[in-house]
């Protein structure tokens, strides 16, 4: 299996590491292994690398260095943001129904509010206003609203500015969190995150390593730490620093910043070729969101008359690695809550396929996908002579 030629079109799940990131982390695995919180010169060397990384990340995101908190990944960053603000303020949390489970489940865990979406998955701003008003008049106002910049399943891009305006009008003082785990790849962070008070990133979604992430937190945000211990990260996140991971994350983010515009242009054209090719080759296949509203690298298709978990077996056999919606702990596919929120029924949602491109995707990957996907759909649609029961 491994080693055979394959087309990896699952970059929204994880990306290969960028070479600069691998090179950046190796010295911190081999030589500079000291605990960065220590007092000796080896510790100071590691600590220097972390602070330089913090500056790189801050510059890329449009935050100050002291506003950057390193975490173990996107899920921890989301949990810290939502539970941290709720604990610190006593207010409510709210998020859109199409958020990643790393946001949705923390919000639900503190009896938060789930905001409806339109048919294209965009946040229903009227519902947001209504629910914010209702919470305020009920005596427990909303303290944090979470809306992702780019949806991990549909690729929908959300402009945070109108969301910010609704919050400022209907829940003054509340902060805006954005899960930018996908978004950082596709939008310019300094403008797109300007309205946000908290921003979550995950290293492995943009060519960094797994097990390291960022929560950017503006100065004025009241945040209670969720992991207690040695008081690292200015008391916001305890635990020994993952020096190698942090350095590699910053290197990957730096390269992303230098290449984002060109990569977006290249991948948008490959994505169009992929989506047009599949939709043109077999009937009953549709994209879920308009391309103009969507990140360059994500294609979500709803394919009539098939179930994705079967399609993925055939795609894998043809060397194409893709995914459906979210998976549960067992590895089974669960019906997509994103498509459900957008109004798709369970049968339609069972035929959804996500093809996600990234910095490493090549034209040959798209060629391969176009060779494999249409015949696989046709094969699954062909009935086998089975006894009727």
């Amino acid at each position: 299996m491994l080693g055979e030629p394959s087309a990896y079109l699952d970059c929204a799940a994880s990306t290969p590491m960028r070479e600069v990131a691998v090179e950046a982390m190796l010295p911190f695995l081999r030589e500079s292994y000291a605990n960065p919180s220590g007092a000796h010169s080896m510790a100071r060397h590691a600590r220097t690398a972390i602070e330089e990384s913090r500056e790189v990340v801050a510059t890329e995101l449009g935050f100050s260095p002291h506003e950057i908190v390193f975490t173990s990944g996107g899920t921890e960053s989301d949990n810290l943001a939502l539970r941290g603000v709720v604990v610190a303020t006593g207010g409510l949390a709210a998020c859109a129904a199409t958020e990643h489970h790393a946001v949705l489940h923390p919000v639900q865990s503190v009896d938060g509010l789930v905001i409806g979406v339109q048919g294209d998955g965009s946040v229903d701003l009227e519902d947001l206003a209504r629910q914010l008003d209702h919470a305020r008049s009920g005596g427990r106002p909303v303290a944090i609203v979470s809306v992702m910049v780019v949806n991990n399943e549909s690729g929908l891009i959300t402009d945070l500015r109108p969301v910010r305006q609704v919050i400022d009008r209907h829940a003054p003082g509340a902060v805006l969190h954005t899960d930018a785990v996908q978004g950082v790849n596709w939008v310019d962070p300094r403008t797109a995150f300007e309205s946000a008070d908290l921003v979550s990133l995950s290293g492995h979604k943009f060519g960094g390593p797994k097990g390291v992430g960022v929560l950017a937190v503006r100065d004025h945000v009241r945040l209670a730490p969720q992991i207690l211990g040695g008081g690292q990260e200015a008391e916001r996140r305890s635990g020994t620093h993952n020096t190698a991971g942090i350095v590699a994350l910053a290197s990957a983010l730096g390269e992303l910043g230098r290449t984002r515009t060109d990569t977006n242009i290249r991948l948008a054209s490959e994505r169009d070729r992929l989506a047009d090719g599949v939709c043109g080759a077999v009937p009953g296949v549709a994209e879920t969101v308009d391309r103009a509203q969507r990140a360059a690298g994500i294609v979500q298709l709803v394919i009539q008359g098939i179930e994705t978990e079967a399609l993925l077996v055939l795609l894998e056999r043809g060397g194409v690695m893709a995914s459906a919606a979210s998976s549960c702990a067992s590895g089974a596919m669960e019906p997509s809550h994103v498509l459900a929120a957008m109004g798709y029924d369970r049968i339609a949602a069972a035929g959804s396929l996500r093809l996600s491109l990234g910095w490493s995707t090549t034209s040959e990957d798209i060629d391969r996908a176009l060779e494999v996907i249409p015949p696989s759909i046709r094969q699954l649609r062909t009935p086998v002579g089975t006894a009727v029961r």
């Binding site: 299996m1 067992s330 669960e334 369970r346 094969q379």
Partner: protein
């Protein structure tokens, strides 16, 4: 060599089934079905069972998939199970899961995916009679599972494989230990996978339907006892009728859920010469004449005779079968078909 998809529950039988297929040189892939998302303490689709199946597949060097048939399982197994209890029938959810999920939806998908055969870890065998495939009891009489597979047709059998049917359970475990599979000493699954030991049948059902107290009467209609939930009473049941101190053993002869009434009698009141049947399934052509009849998953068989209309006469009077239970016909080791008791 053929391409085989093996259904791996995370138990030892299907682990060894996969191993035997790999040894035989087939191109094998494993699949675990996610059927139930609710609480469970055993069965075939908890996260740890999926992990066990996946690890065995890794050890064998075969791909492993997880298919989520939760909606179908709810619709075709759990809902009918609840409905059966509500109407006083005794359901067999394992039979319905085999009928609708494993050997219908999964078999169809396996074929669409280009697999020649679907294999499972059931203890039974596929034989042949001329060009026709036949279904035979497993070699280990204590573990034979052919009863729960009576719905398979000859054309189904052409596309199936039961690799451990020739082995005893001890031999299966020995092979698993030789191969160092983590499932080698795992306990056998018991009972209904979606009903936990903790909640039991009554806990499970009371979350879904109202359960009603019922009166227990004798054959003359005299009140002799009470049951806490008439929906949980099965024909032939002896315990739990609130008949302490009665000189003769009493058995449930019939259950009338709408009137919330259980009729109890002594053992001979359960005996009958004839058993009416419905929803017959035949492996090949319908069978008339003498057959050996099995009326529970691991019960002994008794002799009977099938008439032209598919009903059964017992050679010697036999206990009435609980309505809804599967009644399965054999000649020698060969399974001929089955039906549901009315």
């Amino acid at each position: 060599m053929s391409r085989v998809l093996v259904a791996m529950s995370g138990g030892v039988d299907s682990s060894v089934a996969a191993a035997l297929l790999v040894e035989a040189g087939h191109e094998v892939a494993g699949v675990t079905l996610k059927l139930w998302g609710g609480p469970q303490d055993q069965g075939c689709c908890s996260v740890s069972d999926v992990d066990d199946a996946r690890r065995v597949a890794q050890q064998l060097g075969i791909p492993h998939y997880v298919f989520n048939y939760g909606d179908l399982f709810e619709r075709s197994v759990v809902t009918p199970y609840v409905d059966a209890h509500r109407s006083g029938l005794t359901p067999n959810p394992c039979v319905e899961c085999n009928r609708h999920v494993k050997f219908d939806a999964l078999l169809d998908r396996a074929n669409r995916l280009g697999f020649d055969r679907l294999a499972t870890g059931h203890h039974c065998r596929i034989g042949s009679s001329g060009a026709e495939a036949t279904l035979l009891r497993g070699s280990d009489p204590a573990k034979d599972q052919s009863y729960v597979l009576y719905m398979l047709s000859e054309s189904d059998l052409q596309r199936l494989s039961f690799p451990v049917g020739d082995l005893t359970k001890d031999e299966v475990r020995a092979r698993a230990r030789e191969l160092d599979l983590r499932t080698a000493d795992k306990a056998d699954s018991q009972d209904v996978c979606f009903v936990t030991d903790q909640a039991g049948r009554s806990g499970f059902l009371s979350d879904r339907i109202p359960l009603h107290q019922g009166e227990v009467v004798d054959l003359d209609g005299n009140l002799i006892g009470a049951v806490p939930a008439v929906e949980l009473v099965t024909t032939g049941q002896r315990k739990g009728l609130g008949l302490g101190g009665h000189p003769d053993r009493r058995y449930v002869v019939s259950v009338d859920v709408p009137r919330r009434r259980v009729t109890a009698g002594v053992a001979r009141d359960l005996l009958t010469d004839r058993q009416e049947l419905r929803d017959h399934r035949w492996v090949g052509s319908p069978v008339v004449g003498p057959v050996a009849v099995q009326t529970s998953a691991h019960g002994a068989s008794a002799d009977g005779e099938l008439d032209q209309s598919g009903h059964l006469s017992w050679r010697v009077p036999n206990r009435r079968v609980a309505p809804g239970q599967a009644v399965v016909f054999y000649r020698g080791d060969r399974l001929l078909g089955g039906a549901l008791a009315t």
